[in-house]
């Protein structure tokens, strides 16, 4: 926990200058430097980041380091499996350190489903390079050429010879202090040859979860630690006019800080901190804020210029206007989504402690390196003077990117001369974190005389660009994404833009298919431009015993409906089937859901299944009933008793189908499985009732509006 001499984080030193061996003992270190991001997706065109390094020590174990973090979705085990696979080590002999800014590679952050395509690939490649060196070392030791050496369970032996001598990795690296860079031509084994990855694996920390021993940030405690609280403005965007801290500071043991609009206190107990908050006399000036009823028009009137956390998309092919003018049938509709919360079970929490001028912050964050940089900028201290540690985190879902809380805790800890922990109350989590954006999407389409799509116009407002491009063949297309000045704090969210855009697209496609009397599955297959996605759709339709729906079937809705939707995003392909009943009082019941998912070679099957199940459940909330209500810059329902999230009673039978493609690179599974749920249900509701629902949540009061 403490560092005695001035320490320079590894990422700020050249790979061969880092004190690996002083810290981890003698051995072999193999380094993959930060890598340039891929051509598309998050971080495209950005600076090199990520990479990995692996230390094989005299204890025969591998220590692997990645800048990604585990926020609770099981990537830790999946990534460790990649190292175990390439190094031919039991999983229990791989120790993976994630997101620790002192020793891990610099990384932009854990978002955009990049852990599998980037970090897993980086660890694989590094492991492969380390394996090659272990083979060379083994050849020297065994006195045979390298092609006669094989590595099995942490030992080198002569190929095919199960009798001794076999030499353990610890023996091979004894006395070494050797650092090698990964050669550029390093190629990991194909997934078809995997013996550990792709097979069942146990999360090494699982036992601590069921015994209550796992320590999250909010569970950490240091001697002399104080409890911090922030004095938040009463309404969103309010400005601090004046503040009087004297009454708060008169309380026993209370420390208060005031910097710009920030007012915060710390006290030896949580109750003391809350009393101090009440004792602060602050005057705020509210700024006018639109209310919920006018939000769509407000967003239309307030386009934002410049860069945002999402990239602007503009795609045009052919001539949409001409195609619409010439078409026998065209359709124009608007689709919307609501602001919703992330609501991680563990609210935002940080613990900050200073020691000899160096700051350590333990925090559940998706962006530890960016937090380090933000803290260093704000407090005007060197990046090397800040250390971020990411303990186990009670989930994030895209909601744990900000560093402000860490800055506040650091200021309080400095002022107090004691460590300070700040954890949001649930109400603070509702009101002071950011939301998934409320999206407005205008879609216009037209068809030829034979019913095939001729024009597709997709205007996205305030959702983001992910999944805005249609996976369908349409000759004339125009796709735009326009960020806006949102009146509430909004930000990243698990599959945020893709959920909104996919809802609009898959709903609209269903509408146009109905208009031309086509079966929804057949119509999609007829236009799909992606064979992998078509395979997933066929698999789900077959599993659901889908029978083509004729126009005549759909003309007489009987309260029982079936709907389907597909999605392609972040390299994953998803199809969801929904079966619903709309009965007395238009009450909606989901009878069953089937989600099919394909994301290349499956690394950790049980965890991927878990992710797809969880994503489907999370998507249900946003699809059916979740919405933040607000007026005048104030959230009106900042509690779980006022804001409904999925509970056991809401969970229909859910079937998950995983399509394994060992011939294709592994992609993420945490986000894309969400995106077809809402449109599949909306399409099923239409099938059941003839009513088309174009706003999420579909049934805020449990009934079809």
């Amino acid at each position: 926990m403490s560092v005695s001499s001035p320490f320079i984080p590894f990422d700020l030193l050249a790979p061969k200058e880092r004190p690996y061996f002083d810290r981890y003992g003698n051995g072999l270190v193999v380094v993959l430097p930060p890598q340039r991001p891929g051509p598309s997706g998050w971080g495209a065109g950005g600076p090199p980041h990520g990479g990995a390094w692996i230390h094989v020590g005299e204890d025969g174990k591998a220590r692997a380091f990645s800048g990604k973090v585990e926020v609770g979705q099981g990537t830790r085990t999946a990534l460790a499996l990649m190292v175990a696979e390439e190094l031919r080590l039991p999983l229990s002999d791989v120790e993976l350190t994630m997101g620790d800014t002192d020793v891990c590679p610099w990384d932009m952050g854990t978002f955009g489903s990049r852990s599998m395509p980037d970090a897993a690939q980086h660890l694989r490649t590094t492991g492969t390079a380390a394996r090659q060196i272990l083979i060379e070392l083994g050849a020297g030791r065994l006195g045979v050429p390298t092609d006669r050496v094989e590595l099995v369970d942490g030992r080198a032996r002569v190929r095919g010879d199960e009798s001794p001598p076999a030499v353990g990795y610890g023996e091979l690296v004894r006395g070494l202090r050797r650092v090698e860079m990964v050669p550029p031509d390093t190629r990991p084994d194909p997934a078809a040859k995997w013996t550990r990855a792709g097979h069942p694996a146990l999360d090494s920390g699982a036992r601590d979860v069921v015994t209550g021993r796992r320590r999250y940030t909010s569970d950490l405690h240091l001697p002399g630690m104080l409890y911090g609280k922030i004095v938040f403005p009463p309404t969103y965007g309010a400005k601090l006019l004046r503040v009087d801290l004297s009454a708060a500071q008169a309380l026993e043991g209370v420390v208060a800080v005031h910097e710009g609009d920030l007012v915060a206190v710390a006290a030896p107990t949580l109750h003391g901190a809350l009393a101090a908050v009440r004792a602060v006399r602050a005057e705020w000036e509210a700024t006018p804020q639109p209310s919920e009823s006018e939000i769509v028009e407000y967003l239309r009137r307030h386009p934002a210029e410049g860069e945002d956390f999402w990239d602007v998309v503009h795609h045009e092919a052919g001539d949409v206007d001409a195609a619409v003018a010439a078409a026998p049938t065209s359709l124009k509709e608007t689709y919307t989504t609501a602001y919703i919360i992330h609501g991680p079970m563990e609210t935002h929490a940080v613990l900050a402690a200073w020691e000899a001028g160096r700051l350590t912050v333990w925090m559940g964050t998706q962006t530890p390196f960016r937090a380090r940089d933000a803290i260093s900028d704000t407090l005007e201290i060197a990046p090397a003077s800040v250390h971020i540690v990411v303990p186990p985190t009670g989930s994030g879902f895209g909601g744990k990117h900000a560093a402000e809380l860490a800055v506040v805790a650091a200021r309080l800890a400095k002022a107090a001369g004691h460590p300070v922990r700040i954890a949001f109350s649930r109400e603070e989590e509702f009101t002071q974190a950011y939301f998934r954006p409320l999206a407005v999407i205008d879609v216009r389409s037209a068809v030829e005389r034979d019913g095939s799509l001729s024009a597709w116009e997709f205007q996205v407002l305030n959702a983001g660009s992910a999944a805005a491009r249609a996976p369908y063949r349409v000759p004339n297309q125009k796709i735009d994404n326009q960020p806006t000045e949102s009146p509430l704090a909004q930000g990243s969210y698990r599959a945020l833009a893709a959920t909104a855009n996919n809802f609009a697209r898959e709903s609209h496609l269903d509408e146009i298919a109905a208009r031309v009397g086509a079966d929804p599955v057949e119509y999609r297959l007829r236009h799909l431009a992606d064979d992998r996605l078509a395979d997933v759709l066929r698999a789900v339709a077959a599993r659901a015993c889908w029978t083509p729906r004729s126009a005549a079937d759909r003309a007489h809705p009987d309260g029982h409906g079936r709907g389907i939707a597909v999605g392609l995003e972040k390299g994953g392909r998803v199809a969801t089937y929904a079966e619903v009943a709309v009965g007395e009082g238009r009450h909606l019941e989901i009878l069953s859901l089937i989600t099919g998912y394909e994301c290349g070679a499956i690394v950790h099957p049980s965890n991927l299944r878990s992710q797809v199940e969880g994503a489907t459940v999370m998507a249900l909330g946003g699809a059916l009933f979740e919405a933040v209500h607000f007026e005048g810059g104030r959230v009106l329902n900042p509690r779980f008793s006022q804001y409904r999230v999925p509970r056991f009673r809401d969970i229909p039978p859910i079937e998950v189908m995983l399509l394994d493609r060992p011939d294709l690179p592994s992609q993420g599974g945490g986000e894309t499985p969400l995106i077809a749920v809402a449109p599949a249900i909306a399409n099923a509701v239409y099938d059941a009732t003839g009513r088309r629902l174009r706003s999420l949540p579909l049934t805020p009061d449990g009934v079809v509006p």
Binding site: G72, P392, A423, R647
Partner: protein, 169 residues
């Protein structure tokens, strides 16, 4: 201010996981705060503070209660069992074992509350129907959406005879 002048705090005896502990009896402290912040038993989680999420569930005399809604005075003189006290030495409680075997968690933050609620349910109803499980656990939120695995774990625990594990002591 007068209310903050140092004054002797009243103490009382709280039985937690079979051990009698002296704890301060401040009337504004709830059981959750005392367990987590005074006794360092952090397996019991804060999730909402209003009794809506179940992350803070503990057993009091074998019944699952929400520690965030329990004033410390109400727990005095009764047997409190937290997630840390459920196992017998190295041997996990059958419900813990079932959650581990099924892998019934993602981030794991709701897990202690889920296990406590399940342990209480199986004591009362050793072989619950699916509807009974859902009703008993409806007050427990899992934001990772791990409900299907949890349902599977509960049934596995029921099959393994969780009723024999029952409560602590």
């Amino acid at each position: 201010m007068r209310s903050n002048a140092p004054r002797p705090r009243a103490h009382g005896r709280l039985n937690v996981n079979g051990i009698d502990l002296e704890v301060p009896l401040d009337p504004d402290r709830n059981l959750l705060y005392v367990l987590r912040e005074e006794l360092g038993l952090t397996g019991t989680k804060y999730g909402c503070g209003e009794g809506e999420c179940g992350a803070c569930k503990v057993l009091i005399d074998g019944v699952a209660v929400r520690a965030c809604q329990t004033p410390i005075g109400e727990a005095m003189g009764r047997a409190v069992t937290t997630i840390e006290g459920l196992a017998s030495g190295d041997r996990l409680h059958p419900v813990q074992q079932a959650f581990l075997d099924v892998g019934a968690f993602q981030c794991g933050f709701c897990t202690p509350g889920m296990i406590i609620a399940t342990a209480a349910l199986l004591t009362r109803t050793p072989h619950p129907s699916d509807a009974e499980v859902r009703a008993a656990l409806d007050g427990n939120l899992c934001r990772c959406g791990g409900y299907l695995r949890i349902l599977e774990a509960v049934q596995r625990a029921a099959r393994s005879g969780a009723e024999k594990g029952g409560t602590s002591r």
